[in-house]
Amino acid sequence: MRRQLRSRRAPASPYAYRYRLDDQDEVNQNYLADEEEEAEEEARVMVVPNLEEEEEEEEEEEEEEIEEKEKEEEKGQGQPAGNAWWQRWQIVSEYLWDPEKRMSLARTGLILVIYFFFYASLAAVITLCMYTLFLTISPYMPTFTERVKPPGVMIRPFAHSLNFNFNVSEPDTWQHYVISLNGFLQGYNDSLQEEMNVDCPPGQYFIQDGDEDEDKKACQFKRSFLKNCSGLEDPTFGYSTGQPCILLKMNRIVGFRPELGDPVKVSCKVQRGDENDIRSINYYPESASFDLRYYPYYGKLTHVNYTSPLVAMHFTDVVKNQAVPVQCQLKGKGIINDVINDRFVGRVIFTLNIET
């Protein structure tokens, strides 16, 4: 009730609120006395858009007042120039803090300060929460990996699309594939691999026990493993002859291990249409599989030099001048390659359209 009364300006509604019951008269007179200045205070304090106009008006009025005061003082006193600055300061300070009206810019300032502290504490809270969050999660192992399992598959070269359209006789149409592959394989250079990584025994997991935070060693995967698709012998990766090489890699997942003794294999075929559109594919390494020694992956923080194993598919005899949809699937125990919504889990689909 008190609030309701206070929010009213007396002159705006002369009759409806002037009338009050007898027992309230005393109180009301106090309200009437306060109301005008309070109303102005309120108008100042408000910060909501639809009141901005009013506020501006008020401010303008205030400014006018100040100007008037200035003029008055200049006329009435005609003080020397030295005092003008003092007067100005007084005016400014009055603007900032007007003792009569008990309101000023300082109020607006106060709001800003309060909001600042409120948001500062909110920021502190969120920081605290984030800090706690980081305390609870390990930097080496993700808490949950079930969303990223089963592994996805990706191919290289990759240039915005999974359609390989090129004309053998026009190098411009395939040159970027070559560049992309070359770039991608830089990290697989034999020299680099030999320098950084260890040659570990094939056919078994490369398990490195020990503390979580210990740096882990990585197994070598040399570019030369890819033979004809390594770009070492044929720098055009077969594109110049219409026998393109496409590299396939399996997405890294921390802790993922293929079934023991059953490495994940890759097999490609025509996805739709005539099976014979692709007459032969050469796989490198010849096993067409990802060797067990490249697993498990220990995460980017400790397993710094981990090199994803690759399988290169050399499409040596593909029907030319026609789009051939190719599906390459991972095969192996625990591998899922038939998720309807996700066309990149355990398989990858691309089209080859080689023109001569």
Partner: protein, 1038 residues
């Protein structure tokens, strides 16, 4: 009172106010505009008033009338003539008001409020798809779906609002039952009964007691006919009719009977002079339908709120659209951001919630006998600051009742309450015995048979109002009146007529030893006194001297001064020798004495106030509501009733009173000294709008008497110009324009005419003025509770909006999807926000002033600031913590998420690395994104529970209010949780809804934030209570 009004008359129903009816210009301009147009309006009204007087048929002789209307009073019109006139003038029925076609009402719902904004959103969706399709024909249909969902949301909420409106309008259907009315008419020299609709001007009709007058008729011959004009003029007394021209004004003259008024007794023959819309009633009806519907305060508030929210939505939307474009986002993406921002900002479910809340209150009020026709009117009563009440039938019982008695030089007060049972005055005096005998015997009124089990006051009586009052009075005190009359056999009688002004009857006495005849007489006191030579005091006859005559006059003036109708009673025992038992009395030759009676006493009657009214008026007063009486009745009666119900309080005086007390001229009195004013229609006519304004401003207690329907309208307008929210109560046809004009018109359900009910927004089923107080209370409560509901609903908008802003600026994967937002707005949040309508008041809401129309807004800046910038931001932070937790635990730490947006959303990138070096396919990321949506959704939901709890109160601590008092809140919380569980675990596999299963622990991540919100709000309320009026209070109390 069996005042059955069967008129087939209705005025336009005031349907739900259209929110979309935009109110151009700000309040000030509106006010100024009103002021400007007031003057011509009033002149216009005056013209109408004079136009009414154009009717001069009452002045014409019968011959002139016959000539004018080409009829014959014996043979009537010929059928051919009648058919021709009927074809020319149309049927004798009021034109039904134009109804807005249903389809237009329906479409109005589709474009009102936020719908426009959502339509824009939907259309943007389709445009976005169009752009996508033109670039890539295999683009996903997501945007089409979203557009369809938005359209569906608009259509569903539109249908819902339409249904609610239709339902509340249907309540009125029962009142519109049309009973075909018959009229007895002379045509082709034959008496025929035809439907009243077929009456034409010039028809000769016959009416009998109990009939409704079928058209405006000029009475040609009359036998003791009395009509009830109360629905037209507000006079509760039956008006005698005669065929003589008695007054210049057609409303006052006795030889006119008005359409739709009732003939109470007697018979009459009349000529139809006006039919259908040209009747007086028809003119008032057209006045009523000409009055525009005022927008309800709540409609204005909701519109204001819609403007605020839409303003925020559009400005943020456009701001970020520009930002996005300048950040080199594609236009397509920017459009999608814009859609998201609009959807996040618009509280889709809110308007439906408000409608439900209002209809819940309407139901609650209907249980308390306030039937609300127009849903939005539920709140209007709460913000009412002036009630203009009709007197007859609203404040009073609309039946004459004995109020005072004077005998033995003393005034006795009779009980005037509704059942009259408690008559406490001294009944031992011998004078009373005589008086009661006169009252019983000198009375022609009789109870209709077969009402033995009906309470006396409710029995139907054949007879006029005063006689009825006397009959009931004596029945209550003496018992079986009819039996007493039988024992005192009536031998002769002169009924009351206006020339004699007395009624006389001669009876045998019931005392077998007394062979004298008893002659009893009642009538106008001064006439009765003239005929008396003695007066009975304490059962003894005494000569009537100057002193007793003076005492009589004092008593007569006193009772008359209270607006009561006074009757004098006297008797005379005829000497047995002169008038033996066999004597035959002849009333025509008056072969019996008519003077030297013995005066017994006076008795005064009034239409007494309802017993609940004074209390209700006091309650209105303490609630800061000014009660003004506006009546067509006499000023003296009006003032007396006003005093007795407290509209003029006991210690306040009018200017006239002061003048009388100080023995000075009225002009000399300082007008400021008077608190009360009684203004008649004649005075009002001569007032300028400024004077009326001054009058309304200066006097807290005002009574308007002798006002015409047009003047009632002017009074209501005058009040509205002062920014008051005006409620008008009334029951008669004459009230209907004012009922329509008022912010809320309240009609009486039992005594009210259909016209009044049609024009009103609310109907008091029990005719009890006290129900208005209930209505005020409910209205104020609903306003407070709507504030809470809106605060609750607005809060999460920030939590829904922030994700988009962060998404655009920081490039995180989208934290919450548009569809998910819709599931919050229209799913989890609906029941809780309705539950807030059941919240009890925090303090005595009847002790505060009515809210100021312009200042106490439903959505004020404090509410918006607190909801948006305090709780809303806390919610956003809490929800983001849940979101980050899910992403971090799945492998994407917050740092890895920054600026990941483009790659994240590229469906060709299927080996995106997370913080651990793992590589994600696009679909795996998408699924994770949905999990993020679900997590964010759950985060908001959990914090909305806290929000719901804190919104229970605005000032008091939750613990003062009682955490468990409002059970519906807990139903709301349960519904929130259950809906969320169903969405996550039940529909988690339906990818189109983008909900996923969520690990149980994520449901609890936001709980600390929920607690924080609660604590923060308790602290806020604590400071408000501790430092009322402080800076904090001003800025943090909404």
């Amino acid at each position: 009172m069996a005042k059955k009004t069967l008129e087939i008359y209705s005025v336009e129903l005031s349907g739900m106010k259209d929110i979309e009816q935009t109110d151009k210009g700000n309040g000030k301009e509106k006010y100024r505009g009103l002021k400007n147009c007031f003057e011509p309006k009033k002149n216009h009204r005056k013209e109408e008033l004079t136009k009414e007087l154009d009717l001069d048929d009452h002045k014409l002789s019968i011959k002139e009338l016959e000539k004018k209307y080409g009829t014959n009073i014996i043979t009537g019109l010929s059928s051919a003539q009648a058919a021709e006139l009927l074809a020319r003038n149309g049927p004798n029925a009021l034109t039904p008001p134009k109804e807005t076609p249903e389809i237009i009402k329906f479409f109005k719902q589709m474009v009102g409020g936020f719908s426009i904004l959502l339509w824009i959103g939907a259309i943007l969706c389709w445009i976005a798809y169009g752009i996508q399709y033109s670039m890539n024909t295999s683009s996903s249909l997501d945007n089409v779906y979203l557009g369809c969902v938005l359209a569906l949301v608009i259509i569903l909420t539109g249908i819902f609002a339409y249904y609610q409106e239709a339902k509340s309008t249907n309540i009125m259907a029962t009142f519109n039952k049309m009973i075909p009315q018959q009229a007895l008419v002379i045509r082709d020299s034959e008496k025929k009964t035809i439907p009243a609709e077929q009456l034409v001007v010039g028809d000769i009709v016959e009416i009998r007691g109990g009939d409704q007058i079928p058209a405006d008729i000029r009475l040609l011959s009359v036998q003791g006919c009395k009509v009830d004009n109360s629905s037209l003029t507000g006079e509760s007394e039956p008006q005698p009719r005669s065929s003589e021209f008695t007054h210049d004004s057609p409303l006052e003259t006795k030889n006119i009977g008005f359409y739709s008024t009732t003939c109470l007794e007697g018979t009459a023959t009349g000529m139809v002079i006006n039919t259908g819309d040209r009747t007086i009633i028809g003119q008032i009806a057209s006045l009523a339908s000409g009055v525009g519907n005022e927008k309800t305060p709540i409609a204005i508030e909701i519109q204001h709120f819609v403007h605020i929210v839409a303003g925020v939505a559009v400005s943020i939307g456009i701001l970020f659209f520009i930002t996005a474009v300048s950040l080199k986002y594609q236009v397509l993406d920017s459009i999608i951001f814009l859609i998201g921002i609009i959807v996040a900002n618009v509280p889709e479910g809110l308007l439906a919630t408000v409608t439900v809340t209002l209809s819940l209150t309407a139901k609650r009020m209907a249980k308390k006998n306030c039937l609300v026709k127009n849903l939005e009117a539920v709140e209007t009563l709460g913000s009412t600051s002036i009630i203009c009440s009709d007197k007859t039938g609203t404040l009073t019982q609309n039946r004459m009742t004995v109020a005072h008695l004077w005998f033995d030089n003393q005034i006795f007060i009779a009980d005037t309450s509704e059942d009259n049972s408690n008559q406490v005055f001294d009944q031992s005096s011998g004078t009373w015995a005589s008086l009661s005998k006169i009252i019983t015997l000198c009375n022609r009124a009789e109870f209709r048979p077969g009402q033995e089990n009906v309470p006396i006051m409710k029995r139907v009586v054949a007879g006029d109002a005063s006689e009825t009052a006397l009959l009931k009075f004596s029945e209550v005190i003496l018992g079986d009146v009819m039996e007493i009359r039988k024992r005192n056999h009536k031998v002769a009688e002169i009924p009351f007529n206006s020339t004699n002004k007395f009624q006389l009857s001669i009876h045998k006495t019931d005392d077998p030893n007394d062979k004298r005849f008893l002659m009893v007489m009642k009538g106008a006191p001064e006439r009765i006194l003239e005929k008396c030579s003695t007066i009975m005091v304490n059962g003894q006859e005494q000569p009537l001297d100057k002193n007793t005559a003076e005492a009589f006059h004092t008593a007569y003036m006193e009772l008359g001064g209270q607006g009561e109708r006074v009757l004098g009673f006297c008797h005379l025992y005829l000497p047995a020798d002169e008038f033996p038992e066999t004597y035959t009395f002849d009333v025509d030759t008056m072969n019996f004495p008519t003077s030297n009676f013995c005066f017994v006493g006076l008795l005064s009657m009034i239409d007494p106030p309802r017993s609940t009214v004074p209390d209700a008026v006091t309650k209105c007063r303490s609630a800061g509501i000014k009660v003004i009486m506006v009546t067509g009745d006499h000023p003296i009666t009006a003032k007396a009733i006003a005093k007795s119900v407290g509209i003029i309080s006991a210690n306040s005086e009018t200017v006239e009173d002061i003048a009388k007390r100080l023995h000075i001229a009225v002009e000399q009195v300082n007008k400021r000294d008077a608190k009360a004013a009684v203004v008649t229609g004649m005075e009002l006519k001569d007032m300028s709008p400024e004077q009326l304004d001054e009058l309304l401003t200066n006097y807290p207690e005002i009574v308007f008497a002798r006002t015409s329907p047009q003047q009632k309208l002017i009074i209501v307008e005058g009040c509205q110009m002062q920014n008051a929210v005006v409620a008008v109560t009334g029951d008669g046809v004459n009230d209907s324009p004012a009922l329509k004009k008022a912010d809320i018109g309240i009609a009486m359900g039992i005594t009210g005419s259909d016209a009044a009910k049609n024009a009103a927004d609310m109907i008091l089923l029990d005719d009890n003025f006290a129900s208005i107080v209930t209505g005020v209370e409910e209205g104020r409560l609903i306003f407070d509770n709507l504030k809470k509901t809106i605060a609750y609903t607005l809060t999460k908008n920030i939590a829904e909006l922030c994700p988009f802003l962060i998404y655009i600026t920081v490039g995180l994967p989208l934290p919450i999807g548009t569809i998910t937002i819709l599931f919050i707005d229209l799913g989890t949040d609906i029941i809780p926000s309705i539950a807030l309508a059941y919240e009890k008041a925090e303090s005595d809401i009847m002790n505060r002033k009515p809210r100021h129309k312009k200042k106490d807004r439903l959505v004020n800046e404090q509410l918006a600031m607190y909801s948006y910038l305090h709780i809303g931001l806390m919610q956003a932070v809490g929800a983001f913590v849940v979101y980050f937790t899910v992403y971090a635990q799945e492998g994407f730490k917050p740092s890895a998420l920054i600026n990941i947006r483009v790659e994240w959303e590229n469906s060709n990138v299927n080996d995106l690395e997370d913080s651990y070096g793992q590589q994600w396919t696009w679909y795996q990321r998408k699924y994770l994104e949905w999990m993020g949506y679900t997590a964010f959704f759950v985060g908001i939901m959990v914090q909305q529970i806290a929000d719901l709890i804190i919104r229970k109160t605005r000032r008091n601590s939750i613990f003062q209010q009682g955490l468990f008092r409002n059970k519906v809140i807990w139903v709301g919380i349960a519904s929130q949780i259950i809906i969320a569980l169903i969405l996550s675990y039940g529909l988690g596999s339906v990818t189109a809804l983008s909900f996923t299963m969520l690990r149980p622990q994520y449901w609890f991540v936001a709980v600390p934030f929920a607690i924080l919100i609660w604590v923060y709000d308790e602290v806020r309320k604590l400071f408000i209570r501790l430092y009322p009026g402080s800076w904090w209070d001003k800025n943090m109390y909404y």
